[in-house]
């Protein structure tokens, strides 16, 4: 009580002295505390859990506000207890984390929690604790549950009993994200209570059998988004789901084949080594992202050019990571099928410019109705000296309207590439060139890398003038960021 009066006296006298900008900001009365609870609640939702809890010490008025307005409980050991980036902590910190979560949950007993996340290096030894937390979250009506656990080398993963999610009277769980856990599906009578309302399921490094996948899809009849990452043991992934709209598969190391029979599927994103793709029944699949990794000879581009047009004639949007060099003799571009519906193509280069260029040209040739072309450059050095010069003839493209180039650094090869497109895309309306690289986050979202990449104004002007000459359409717009 004493300190507040004191500070006011000091500031009163300070007011008579030189007024700094900080002083001008300060106001006489405590307006913030007079705001209604719901407004304060909105303010608190923008704070981390730790900051929100600290508001309880401001004054009597603030003591309980945080409890009613925290709807996102993100218990992240890294953020909460001040340990920096490395997720593996000492035993002491883990114990502290457990205490903190328990204490906080106790204070929030009666309030509704929309999102509940635990991020800590907990494992099988903490099974009963985690069971308890999951139960609390479910009972409080949480819609989104994340268990992001990190493995300690010697211990087994936490095993989540599939029936635990059905602890509440009526399941309101919509989104479930598990990392480094095991899903304990007791057979022969597995319980999938709590899964029926799921619309999103994300499993990262969760051990699954093919039977598990089948059962999950069967019981998650409202599932719209499924993400599987690093789940070993799956050899054939059979996706049979009438409700699924988005499927993301990321590095399933044992995978050999994917069978898709999903009548509502719109987007399919795949990162990993090459597998056999069976598009059994995906009439609405219009967006595909393909990123083939690994040291064998496979690459997304050849597959997308040879087999996809026949199996996915309805494809409209394609995101391709280009990892293979282009050899005309090995990959003749003469007899390729045409993409009749492809309107948007995004190509990410992981090969030297020259190869990337030939792939771009090939894609443009087989996609006559392409409207948007987005390129992500990376300027890799071309190691070989002996590659033959491949001539590229000018093939006008009558539909391409928008060109976007990211990661542009002004190298001659990059300029040549863009010039070729400008010359041949006779319907081009707008070109956007951004020196900043962008990273794909998944599901159509990109993150721009904001730091450091910029082009000096003179350079920008030079390239602008150079490229402007090549425009075929009058009134087309060229923007260089």
């Amino acid at each position: 009580m004493g300190n507040c009066v004191c500070s006011r006296e000091i500031s009163a006298s300070a007011k008579n002295s030189i007024i700094s900008t900080k002083e001008i900001e300060r106001i006489e009365e405590d307006r913030i505390s007079h705001l209604p609870d719901e407004v304060l609640g909105h303010i608190i939702t923008f704070l981390t859990l730790r900051e929100a809890v600290r508001t309880s010490a401001l004054s009597r008025r603030w003591k309980y506000v945080w409890r009613t307005s925290v709807s996102d409980l993100d218990f992240d050991a890294k953020n909460m207890l001040g340990t920096q980036n490395h997720p593996i902590h000492g035993q002491e910190i883990t114990s502290k984390f457990i205490r903190v979560v328990d204490q906080t949950l106790k204070l929030l007993q009666d309030f509704k929690v929309e999102r509940f996340r635990i991020c800590c290096d907990l494992d099988n030894r903490h099974g009963s604790i985690l069971h308890r937390w999951v139960k609390s979250a479910i009972i409080s009506g949480t819609k989104e549950l994340h268990l992001d656990l990190y493995p300690r080398p010697d211990y087994q993963l936490y095993s989540l009993p599939s029936g635990l999610l059905g602890s509440g009277k009526k399941s309101s769980l919509k989104h479930l994200h598990l990392t480094f856990c095991t899903l304990n599906i007791l057979r022969p009578y597995p319980s999938f209570e709590g899964f029926e309302s799921l619309t999103t399921l994300s499993l990262k490094h969760v051990f699954l059998t093919e039977e598990d996948v089948g059962d999950l899809l069967c019981h998650c009849s409202l599932l719209e988004c499924l993400k599987l990452a690093e789940c070993m043991n799956l050899v054939i992934l059979r996706i049979f789901s009438p409700s699924l709209k988005y499927l993301g598969v990321n590095e399933l190391s044992d995978l050999v084949e994917i069978k898709l029979c999903a009548t509502s599927l719109v987007t399919f994103e795949f990162t990993g080594h090459m597998v056999n793709f069976c598009f059994v029944n995906v009439p609405l699949l219009i967006t595909v992202m393909l990123h083939i990794v690994g040291f064998n000879n496979s690459d997304a581009a050849p597959i997308a050019l040879t087999t996809f047009p026949a199996h996915l004639p309805q494809l409209e949007n394609l995101v391709i990571y280009n990892t293979k060099l282009y050899f005309e003799t090995v990959f003749p571009s003469e007899s390729l099928p045409t993409y009749t519906n492809l309107t948007r193509l995004v190509m990410v280069a992981k090969v030297p410019e020259m190869d990337f260029f030939f792939w771009i040209v090939t894609f443009m040739k087989v996609s006559p109705f392409l409207k948007t072309l987005q390129l992500h450059l990376c300027h890799l050095k071309d190691e070989s000296e002996t590659r033959e010069i491949i001539r590229v003839s000018n093939i006008p493209h009558r539909y391409l309207k928008f060109l976007e180039v990211n990661g542009f650094a002004g190298y001659q090869e990059q300029i040549d590439m863009i010039t070729y497109i400008l010359k041949n895309a006779i319907a081009l309306e707008s070109v956007l060139i951004d020196p900043r690289p962008r990273f794909y986050l998944g599901n159509g979202k990109w993150k721009t890398h904001n730091n450091q990449w910029f082009m000096p104004t003179r350079e920008r002007k030079r390239i602008y003038e150079l490229l402007l000459q090549e425009f075929q359409t009058v009134g087309a717009q060229l923007t260089i960021l």
């Binding site: 009580m1 507040c4 405590d30 505390s33 900051e51 508001t55 004054s59 996102d72």
Partner: protein
């Protein structure tokens, strides 16, 4: 549709303002009043001053297009609000530049710049805005202002927060100890 209708509104200090219907529709409160039939006369706004009202209208004008395309659904679309389930923390950390293509990208950039300028305000205006946005039920504006207020709380000790906002610490020493003890981890 007929020519844009103009709505007359009167703030608590007696001033009247004439604003296009589509612009005031951004406020759920006003929208409901108009739909209840008050749109022909003068709409009273007893909780809004003439000082803050123009600032609110400035926001509404900027966000009219969002609402036009949404027709008459409930409180509009916030571009910042992620659809991504993985990293969303509702603005707690810096909102990532998530955008789809060139046109969207340019639009998002421009809006961000506008918002930065718009929110370059002092505490008095901020609190006026919070109260007005709450009363007029303009969710986007309320959240934007709330985020700004949160940024003034972030990273400060309770003492510093009290100083910023002139909050009086009315705890007894025992009460204060208890509060800090209850959630000791947050105060370390």
């Amino acid at each position: 549709m007929a020519s844009p209708k103009v709505i007359v509104l009167r703030t608590c200090d007696g001033e009247t303002f004439e604003v296009d219907e589509s612009v005031v529709y951004v406020s759920e409160t006003i929208k409901n009043m108009i739909e209840d039939g008050c749109g022909d006369g003068v709409i009273p706004l007893p909780n809004v001053s003439s000082k803050i009202f123009p600032k609110v209208i400035e926001y509404c004008k900027k966000h009219v297009s969002d609402f036009e395309s949404l027709k008459k659904t409930s409180n509009g679309d916030e571009k910042e609000k992620d659809k991504d389930d993985d990293s969303s923390k509702k603005g707690k950390e810096a909102v990532p530049d998530v955008e789809e293509d060139a046109e969207e990208k340019a639009r998002v950039e421009e809006l961000k710049e506008w918002e930065t300028t718009y929110m370059d305000i002092d505490q008095q205006v901020l609190f006026d805005l919070l109260q007005a946005a709450n009363y007029l039920n303009i969710k986007g504006l309320l959240l934007m202002a709330a985020e700004k207020a949160a940024s003034m709380i972030r990273g400060k000790t309770p003492e510093q927060i009290r100083e910023t906002f002139n909050i009086k610490n009315d705890f007894t020493p025992e009460e204060y100890e208890e509060v800090r003890r209850e959630n000791a981890w947050a105060f370390e």
